[in-house]
């Protein structure tokens, strides 16, 4: 085996000059403009950076995430859930699942949180252009896919057919259901399914994988999958069984992170770091699920 030396890390003057400016660990302040209740556990927060200049410069790409801070509670990584074309700020969709996110649920419009980012490798826009896009989502897994849906629906000339299969436990738990009719009008072929049937529900019942049965896959199709880990695993399996290449199946992962920029080591996944090498990965890039 060849043992190379480590690449030298220069501490030159230019970098020294920059050092005072860019402290990666310091959050900016963001103000909550509006809160939209998605379901009993999930809210979408529309945010704007308080610093006007920073807000003006701010941009992100679908698939990236922000580290959000709450007083005394630390930070958590949250994916963008709004269109990257938005003029004023961005949205984060957050489920009440721990101490920090429980505190987020108590916030009201006008409150301030800390944010830093955007971080992470986005969805590959160049690979998606002109392709038929199949979105498969479960629960809050739709949140990181929503910027992509908005992006491609607003560029009908550059996109192929857009289809989405979206599953939820109950009809009440669908996120972004206010968007559904607009998305359909703009050309999204949308099919919903629920795990448990309900009285007012006349749609399909069953796992999201059951919706895949009637779908035909060609070489011009790319799949974008996000939801609970077990759902992702089964959808991957089924899409590959249907003849889809692993490199055409894309997902975005969730991991415990502290820095978000490739230093703290928490999100190591084999030789990759989810924060900088991901969170967007193709099925071909992911390790064997039995040895995480």
């Amino acid at each position: 085996m060849e043992y190379d030396t480590y690449p030298s890390c220069s501490l030159d003057a230019r970098r020294q000059a920059q050092a005072g400016r860019d402290n990666i660990y310091l959050p900016d302040q963001a103000i909550i403009r509006n809160i939209i209740r998605e379901n009993s556990l999930v809210n979408t927060y529309e945010l704007t950076l308080v610093d006007e200049l920073a807000n003006h410069r701010f941009s992100f790409q679908p698939g990236q995430f922000m580290m959000i801070s709450m007083p005394h509670l630390g930070e958590a990584p949250i994916s963008f859930s709004s269109s990257p074309d938005g003029e004023d700020g961005f949205s984060l969709t957050i489920r009440n699942s721990g101490r920090l996110t429980a505190a987020v649920q108590q916030l009201r419009a006008g409150d301030i949180i800390g944010v830093r980012g955007p971080y992470g490798r986005p969805f590959p826009a160049d690979r998606l252009e002109g392709k038929n896009l199949l979105f498969v989502a479960g629960g809050i897994g739709l949140a990181p896919l929503r910027p992509l849906i908005e992006y491609w629906l607003s560029r009908p000339d550059e996109a192929g057919n857009l289809t989405m299969f979206y599953g939820s436990r109950t009809p009440e738990e669908f996120c972004f259901n206010r968007d559904f009719s607009r998305w359909e009008q703009n050309g999204l072929n949308l099919r919903l399914t629920v795990d448990q049937t309900a009285e007012e529900w006349d749609g399909s019942v069953g796992l999201v994988t059951s919706l895949l049965d009637g779908y035909t896959i060609d070489d011009e199709t790319m799949a974008l999958v996000c939801g609970p880990g077990i759902m992702i695993r089964f959808v991957f399996k089924q899409l590959q069984a249907m003849g889809m290449k692993a490199e055409n199946i894309i997902t975005t992962l969730e991991r415990h992170m502290k820095c978000g920029v490739g230093i703290c080591g928490h999100c190591h996944m084999e030789e990759k770091l989810v924060c900088i090498d991901g969170p967007v990965f193709t099925a071909a890039e992911l390790p064997d699920p039995d040895n995480p």
Partner: protein
Amino acid sequence: MIETQTLHKDYLRPLLRKLGKQYRLVGPVRNRFGDTLYIEITDLDRVDIDLKHQPQNSLKSFFFPQTEPLASYIVDTEPLSPTQLYSFHPLLPENRPTLYFGVRSCDLFAVLYMDMIFLGGKHRDIYYEQRRRGAVFITLGCNEPFANCFCNATRNGPFLEFGFDLQLTDLGPARNSYFVEAGKANGVKIVRKWARFFTVSTKEDRRFQYQAALEARGLFKQLVHVDLACQELEKGCEPEDVLTDFSQRCQDCGGCAFICPTCTCFSITDQARDQGSGERIRSWDGCTFAGFTRMAGGHNPIDMRRHRIRKRFFHKLKHDVQKHGRPSCVGCGRCVDMCFGGVDIIRFINAITEAGDLGRGKKRGV
């Protein structure tokens, strides 16, 4: 061309005294408990500089302290306040030019690894950079490797070929002096500025140094096939038995990660001072802790001890080879001394290369 000199041992302290006026000094000191530790030296006359034993700590904490505040924050807690406030103020460490002397090859090599982690990516860590800038290293080659050393197998010792400002080699009791190689600009500067302490080396000095370095390679007590283990892991080897053994013996103390000079994982937490203010603290973390990968809501992608132990060793011996071209173990052997359960990298490597006893026998080393 690397300039070579010799330095009489009697001149080491006077030289350090001079350098101590320009730099903060850090070196290996034996304390009254008989421990040898790298510490900051404020008074050279009152410490027992120990260039004989392996320091128990590495230089890690000098650049990346076990806990450090990153920022303070203030929160406006007034419920009906018209101007909400939640802002952060950096708490940057002081930039103090520091001379690290008596540094062992493994420990300097580990600093070069840390440079890559903290400064080598797209986002640099300015807390690390602040401490790293202005650091000068006088290393000491190891004529006699210590009980658990295997830096010959990780190929970063017992003598260095690059990375040091000055490298010293003990030329033995008869000569009572050090052979001195200047590797970088700061080393050359020191030799030029304090030329009166140094003597230009002779051919014989050079031959003696070469001989010492050669002999040192034959004095390792541990036979560890690091590159063979890396090759096996690259080929897809999954050492199930040793991981099962280790997972029963690991006590989740994190000692291996904390003592390891190249374990750089950290956590960031907020500590409230009062309702309206607090500090954001960074502290060492370890991938062998159950909470290391646990997410909000309790889901943990790496939730079994054997997976965590696997992750730790695979990171050092497989993933860093894939990423950086070499393993990130520097062969210092400290994790062997640290773990009473024998969950150490030598035993792991030996299990893969089938040179070991799977650790059921008595503990190696001292």
